[in-house]
Symmetry: C2
Subunit: 251 residues, 2 copies
Amino acid sequence: MPRRGTKKPYIPIDGQACQVRDIGICAPFSGEALGALETFKAAERMYAPGRDFLVQGESAGEFFTVLDGWAFLYELLEDGRRQILDFCLPGAFLGFQPDLSAPVTYSAQALTDMSVCVFPRSRVADFVRQHPELGLRMACVAARDQYLAFRHLSNVGRRTARERVASLLLELFFRVRLHSPASSGDKIVIPLTQEHIGDALGLTSVHVNRTLRQLREEKLLTLKGGSLQVLDPDRLAEVAGFESDVAFLRH
Amino acid sequence: MPRRGTKKPYIPIDGQACQVRDIGICAPFSGEALGALETFKAAERMYAPGRDFLVQGESAGEFFTVLDGWAFLYELLEDGRRQILDFCLPGAFLGFQPDLSAPVTYSAQALTDMSVCVFPRSRVADFVRQHPELGLRMACVAARDQYLAFRHLSNVGRRTARERVASLLLELFFRVRLHSPASSGDKIVIPLTQEHIGDALGLTSVHVNRTLRQLREEKLLTLKGGSLQVLDPDRLAEVAGFESDVAFLRH
DNA sequence: CGCGATTTTGATCAATGTCAAAGGTGGTGG
DNA sequence: CCACCACCTTTGACATTGATCAAAATCGCG
């Protein structure tokens, strides 16, 4: 939803306008505050697919907003089992934690080429004191992320494989379409392997494969070569067990 | 850990000092700001066990800090399956969400008699503008809660029943002991049924029962009549798959 | 003492994991 | 342009975990 008809004061960043101004941590700012926020920002950076740009157990000293591309957060158990905690799309805010000097508790890996906006942890407290809006905004974003994490937990804890797969794919479908004005067809680009999907849902990739085949045979969706086509959103939503409201559209 | 040797300026609330001053949302405040915070607070309230004080789908208009007692957050699927999202102990902060007028996305139920501190959602934005510390504090608490939710997700998604049960009980064991100066023995009060445990871990209560029996037979713990005794914390931690660091002790 | 809720146990079943191997696919260097 | 390679997908046979159903034992409490 575009905010009131005001012309948004885009800040040129390295020569181009910020693409996530309206959905990221900076959304509530304008005018002078936006300029100040610009001084808070430490850098802009790019990562290649497969790159771990946050590593569980290491201290990071910075946090991020995703400007472009996909990433995911994950946790690794000692024996190699992996749980994907969240998929991060443009606008996502990650790496912030209460104890700013402590090691981070999860890893983050790029799925595609991506660019991020980097903020230094050290100055966040000072900056929030000067610009209270930012603290509130961070709390709000964190609350929304908590909601997503809770939904994710319900899926994994209390739904069947079929429901989980349908639910995840449909959620990503909506999240992607919401912020890419181009694609409003039934097809989106989704840079995940079946193993990613399994690791997000607490399933093996083999079982994800079988489940996808089933959904394909029922003409609900196609997932092939990084491209997801949702053939019957309504029926798929039913399978996923979504209630009528689609509150998560807010991302 | 007590903050520097300063005498903490306890606010008398309805005649008694706040028990969660150091761990709740109010921790960073003192002096005049603390007085202001007091004016932000709307009420103090008590709930009996079993009482749903937040209901999924309804608008609440307020959020809470737990002063005393236990509660849990949960989500209900249409067919009655329940996922417990989090157990709330004194100091927990719940009910805050980005869109302050939207319906809440989860329910909250008291497990014991409990008392909560109530804040009005409507005034939070104004209040944060006046007291930026609060925004930062809320963001920090939210970040910590996200960490707990992520751990929970990893447990449910990628661990066996045995590991999940060990992990949850050990975590609660530490969380309880951390804030109740009295109990430093190997026994804590834990007001959960096996069904609660199952609903938190994505298991049936029957299977929780069998798993508990196994752990009991291995002399790792006892859970009986609302009382948990941890007989061998080290071996239990091994079963739970905890890495050496016990970062969650921060709650 | 009796009742509802909870725990415990057994027998059986279904969902999902494991292991293994055969296709696909895209990218890279010769 | 082809061949090869790494990685991903697909499928089959079988194993295992945890679910389901059902009933008995126990507990807390009025």
